[in-house]
C-alpha cells in the first residue's frame, strides 16, 4: 500500500544523478507540486525523461530553467528556450527520441521487455548505432527500454491502494512511466477510500504506486 507523504518529503528522496521520469505533455499532466518541491530542494545533475520540455516557466521546463537537469531524453524541446540555450552552450546533454518510440521504450521497461522493434526512425539519424532488421520487406530498428529511479506522476484521483484515474489529456505518458521506475510518486487532486474507484475504470493499478502526494498548487 503506498505511503502518503508531502511534496517536500518526496523531493527529499531524490539524489543528484538520479534518473527521473516526468509525466507531462506541454505542462498538461505535470506533477506541479512535486516539481516545485524539487526546485525548492535544489537537487542538481538530474537526468530527465519526459515527452517535451514544456515551457520555460511551466511544467517540467521549470527544472531546466533552474539548471537542475544535466541530461535529458525527450521527443521535443521546441517550446522551451532554456533547453535550446543550454543545449547550444553544452550545458545539457540531449537524446531526442521519436515520441512513440519514447512511450514504447518506457513501457518496455515497465513490462520487463528487453526492447522493441519499430519502423519509426528507419532511414533517419535515429537509426544510427542501432541494430536493424528486415522482415517481409519492411525495416525496423531495435530500441531498448528506458528505466528510471523515480517517476513523478500526475493523476486526478487515487484510492489508498494507489489505484489511479487520470483526467483528459493530462493522462499522456503518466501510465507508462508509473510502471517503469523503481519508485513511483503520484501527485493527485484527491485521495479516496479503498473501494471508491470502480475496478473497471482503474487505469493504473496500485501495484505500480509507491507514494501518494496531495497536489497543493
Amino acid at each position: 500500500m503506498p505511503q502518503i507523504i508531502s511534496a517536500p518529503q518526496a523531493a527529499a528522496l531524490i539524489k543528484p544523478h538520479d534518473r527521473i521520469m516526468f509525466g507531462s505533455f506541454l505542462a498538461a499532466g505535470a506533477a506541479c507540486s512535486l516539481i516545485d518541491a524539487l526546485m525548492e530542494a535544489g537537487t542538481q545533475n538530474l537526468h530527465m525523461i519526459t515527452i517535451a520540455t514544456d515551457y520555460d516557466d511551466r511544467g517540467v521546463g521549470k527544472l531546466i530553467s533552474n539548471k537542475q537537469i544535466k541530461s535529458l531524453q525527450c521527443s521535443h524541446i521546441g517550446t522551451n528556450k532554456s533547453t535550446q540555450a543550454q543545449m547550444n552552450a553544452g550545458e545539457i546533454e540531449i537524446e531526442l527520441i521519436p515520441q512513440g518510440t519514447l512511450a514504447e521504450r518506457i513501457r518496455a521497461a515497465g513490462a520487463g521487455l528487453g526492447g522493441i522493434l519499430t519502423p519509426t526512425g528507419v532511414d533517419t539519424v535515429v537509426e544510427d548505432g542501432k541494430q536493424k532488421f528486415e522482415f517481409d520487406g519492411k525495416a525496423y530498428i531495435l530500441e531498448r527500454p528506458i528505466k528510471a529511479d523515480f517517476a513523478f506522476i500526475r493523476a486526478k484521483k487515487a484510492d489508498k491502494l494507489g489505484n489511479l484515474v487520470y483526467y483528459k489529456t493530462a493522462r499522456n505518458s503518466n501510465p507508462a512511466m508509473a510502471m517503469a521506475a523503481k519508485t513511483t510518486i503520484v501527485e493527485v487532486d484527491e485521495i479516496v477510500e479503498i473501494g471508491q474507484i470502480d475496478p473497471e475504470n482503474v487505469i493504473t493499478p496500485g501495484i505500480f504506486v509507491d507514494y501518494l502526494v496531495k497536489r497543493e498548487v
Partner: protein
C-alpha cells in the same frame, strides 16, 4: 493573393482529401487549420497524439482547460464520442496504421517521397515529437507547406539535404502553387493553383515533375 490567403487555400484543398468516417491526425501549425474546412455533411474524428480521439473545436474564451489540449498545446474541446488514452495506445493507433490520414508541415520534401521537417542542423532543433511515428505509420501522409522558402527557393527537391523525418512515405504535397502526388514514377503534378500557371510551378520546383494528363486547378 497574400500569404494568409494562400495558406487558407492550402488547408481548404487538403480538407477535400478527407472522406466521411476518416480518422485524421493534424500536425502543429497550418495543418491544424484543416479542421476548420471539413464539409458539414461528413463526420471526421481527429486524433491528437497526446491522447485523444475526437478533438472538438477550440473552447469559448474563458472556458480553456490546461489539461485539455492538442499536440501543439492549443486549447481544445471534447467531441461527443471522444476517447482518451495514454501515449502508448495513442502511438499504437499511429504506428499501427489505424489512421487514415495525417497532415504535416515540411521544411523539404523530395521526389522520392522523403520528408524533412524536424531540424536544421546548427540552427533549429525542436525535435521530431510525434512526426516520425506519424509519417512511418499513417496510411496517407499529406504535406501542407508553402512551395518556396522565404528566400524563394524550392522546398520540393530532387533530394532532401536536411535530416530526414522518414524516407519514401509522403503521398501528397499541397502547396500554395500545386497539388502533387508522390507516385512510384516520381512527382505527379495534378493541380495548379488558379492564381499561377504550369510554367511558374515548374520554375518554382527543383524536383522533376511529371505533368498529369488533365491538370486541374484549385483555389
Amino acid at each position: 493573393m497574400d500569404r494568409k490567403e494562400k495558406r487558407k487555400m492550402i488547408v481548404r484543398r487538403i480538407a477535400q482529401e478527407i472522406k466521411d468516417g476518416d480518422f485524421v491526425n493534424l500536425g502543429i501549425g497550418m495543418p491544424t487549420e484543416v479542421a476548420n474546412y471539413i464539409p458539414e455533411d461528413i463526420t471526421v474524428y481527429f486524433q491528437s497524439e497526446n491522447g485523444i480521439l475526437g478533438v472538438g473545436p477550440a473552447p469559448e474564451p474563458g472556458k480553456e482547460d490546461p489539461d485539455l489540449i492538442n499536440a501543439g498545446g492549443g486549447y481544445i474541446t471534447e467531441k461527443k464520442g471522444a476517447a482518451y488514452f495514454d501515449s502508448c495506445t495513442s502511438f499504437a493507433i499511429i504506428r499501427g496504421g489505424h489512421l487514415d490520414m495525417t497532415v504535416l508541415g515540411a521544411l523539404q520534401v523530395d521526389q522520392e517521397g522523403n520528408l524533412a521537417n524536424w531540424m536544421i542542423p546548427g540552427k533549429l532543433v525542436p525535435g521530431m515529437g510525434g512526426a516520425m511515428d506519424l509519417v512511418a505509420g499513417t496510411k496517407k501522409v499529406v504535406i501542407a507547406m508553402e512551395h518556396r522558402d522565404k528566400h524563394g527557393n524550392s522546398k520540393i527537391l530532387k533530394k532532401c539535404n536536411l535530416p530526414l523525418t522518414a524516407a519514401g512515405k509522403v503521398n501528397l504535397i499541397v502547396t500554395d502553387m500545386a497539388v502533387i502526388e508522390v507516385t512510384e514514377k516520381g512527382l505527379l503534378l495534378k493541380e495548379v493553383a488558379a492564381w499561377t500557371n504550369l510554367e511558374e510551378v515548374k520554375q518554382a520546383t527543383e524536383a522533376d515533375l511529371i505533368v498529369a494528363d488533365n491538370v486541374g486547378t484549385f483555389e
